[in-house]
Symmetry: C2
Subunit: 333 residues, 2 copies
């Protein structure tokens, strides 16, 4: 019926010491005589005392909780990052408050505010754009923040990513080298810097080096969804694209199936390279060639970086780029 909670005070009384001493042994403070420590530990055991983390948070101003803002857990790419984040967080004794933002600016701001209200010790932000409004909130927050799989156009926020520009350039070059003159660029919103400023740049660079004229008819801006990809086939055909680099694996799977269902053969009639190397690439047939990214590690490193900031350690570099690669599977010849 009752709350029936055992408090630090109960332990202190039973062990015949002060709350301060109990607090010390609970927190592993070395300034406690071994004998007293044992005595206290025994009482804790006997009473089954569990420190109240909320009270602790209030007194110490540390909640050992970090906020994670994710566009959609349901997206394999982001959930892979999230897994990396959570594992490292757990390793450092933090918990994760996870919230979906749907990349909706208003929701992002609102979520950020409740996270701050809950006094999280830090935040990992995923998403594609850091809106001005969001940046303002970030600034106001004294709370450390790290971006994961998310570029900051102004380069002032700590983040961990791969070199999207170079990766896409390499992928496109790969496609061109095999004779494709019309390579489509398919991504999410070009309002997102990650697409507009990084991936598209790589695309253009590859074209330029190959002496191919840039044609914005070949650039497709869409949602990161399977359906969206599937519906793209007629448009791709009408511009005569014979290959594509695609910014998301689910989207890529959609494109591939759309093309295949239209009777074309991948990779003989149409080659494609996707971007995230999630497990989906191996599940579909043909398996998708992909830019490889250390997904789990991006999350893990971001979280690790965050722990440093929360600990006031100096981090060598604020902006870390993890290695990428190109994995040939069956959607390229």
């Amino acid at each position: 019926m009752d709350k029936q909670t055992v408090t630090i005070y109960d332990v202190a009384r039973e062990a015949d010491v002060s709350m301060a001493t109990v607090s010390r042994v609970v927190n592993g403070n070395p300034n406690v005589k071994p004998a007293t420590r044992k005595k206290v530990l025994d009482v804790i055991e006997r009473l089954d005392y569990r420190p109240n983390a909320v009270a602790r948070g209030l007194a110490s101003k540390k909640t050992t909780t970090v906020g994670v803002i994710i566009p959609d857990v349901t997206n394999i790419y982001f959930s892979a990052l999230a897994r990396g984040i959570d594992d490292i967080a757990m390793m450092y004794k933090y918990n994760i408050i996870l919230t979906n933002s749907d990349e909706n600016g208003r929701k992002e701001v609102q979520v950020l505010n409740t996270l701050m209200a809950k006094q999280v010790d830090g935040i990992v932000f995923m998403g594609n754009a850091v809106s001005e409004e969001l940046r303002k909130e970030f600034d106001r927050a004294k709370t450390p923040i790290v971006l994961a799989g998310c570029v900051d156009e102004k380069g002032q926020m700590p983040s961990v990513n791969i070199d999207y520009t170079a990766a896409v350039e390499e992928a496109v070059k790969n496609l061109i080298d095999r004779g494709n003159q019309k390579v489509a660029f398919i991504s999410g919103s070009l309002a997102d810097p990650i697409n507009r400023d990084f991936r598209l740049k790589g695309y253009k660079q590859a074209l330029k080096k190959a002496g191919i004229r840039y044609d914005d008819k070949l650039v497709f801006e869409t949602d990161y969804t399977y359906k969206a990809g599937q519906l793209l086939q007629p448009a791709l055909q009408s511009v005569g694209a014979t290959a594509a680099v695609i910014g998301d694996d689910e989207l890529a799977a959609g494109v591939m199936n759309g093309v295949t269902d239209a009777g074309l053969n991948v990779p003989n009639d149409f080659e494609l390279i996707t971007s995230n190397d999630t497990k989906l690439t191996e599940m579909v047939r043909p398996k998708m060639s992909s830019i490889t990214q250390p997904l789990y590690d991006i999350g893990a490193v971001a979280m690790r970086l965050l722990t440093k900031f929360m600990n006031n350690e100096e981090a060598e570099e604020k902006t870390v780029l993890l290695p990428y690669g190109l994995m040939k599977r069956d959607t390229t010849n």
Copy 2:
């Protein structure tokens, strides 16, 4: 530099009222004269006051946070549930502390304990088995708990699921009706009641009604992973199975590709029905026929149910079964 936090006390002073009154307006308590309310609100605005949720939690014993224990966010099935949970949680102003358990009993208990320490108002548990140890912890916790996509063998914990037994029976019948005499049953660990007591039971019932002898050579116990499925092909062939019901979509995709890669044709040489109807079923080729489950809704309903418990409302039924179906796609004839 400094914490620079505006407290309720500052607001009270500036507005020339007591903390109690500020608290009242912040919490929408109607017992405040409109004029004072406005005065307070203005000060709050001017000072940009944000209530500290931790202090609030300590004083009110409510954290508006619920814990979610998930085997692995990276699994499409679970992340779909998680999404439903989070959306409803947000709707009711709760936040989610999300932790991966890997279905590891020790980790589950440990995670549960830290959630309790953090004074979450409730818990949604996903996973396949509720171990004895876990049940003990659950009992000790005064905190309301709801299972999502997870059966309680003893039927005493609130949960939301579909009728796995009936669903599997129907799927197997479907396969048998089309002439398959040797239908394999492929699931995760049979230590999990969901497989052992529910799905397998449905499988047996279908066989029985069709007058086919149960043969445990046709029962495959494995991991819920793509790889595990892929490796199953030789074993399936050696027992002469011509069809299978499979307990997880990633696993099913693995089985299908294993079979296909071995040169067989799905569905002509081998038919299969999977269980979770995640978006993966539509991404692979052939598209997988599946038992359908309202994934998102399972999570959503579980969370909704939890809010009732947290609110001490009486819930009509503790154990809710959502409707399932059978979706014919291209892995069955």
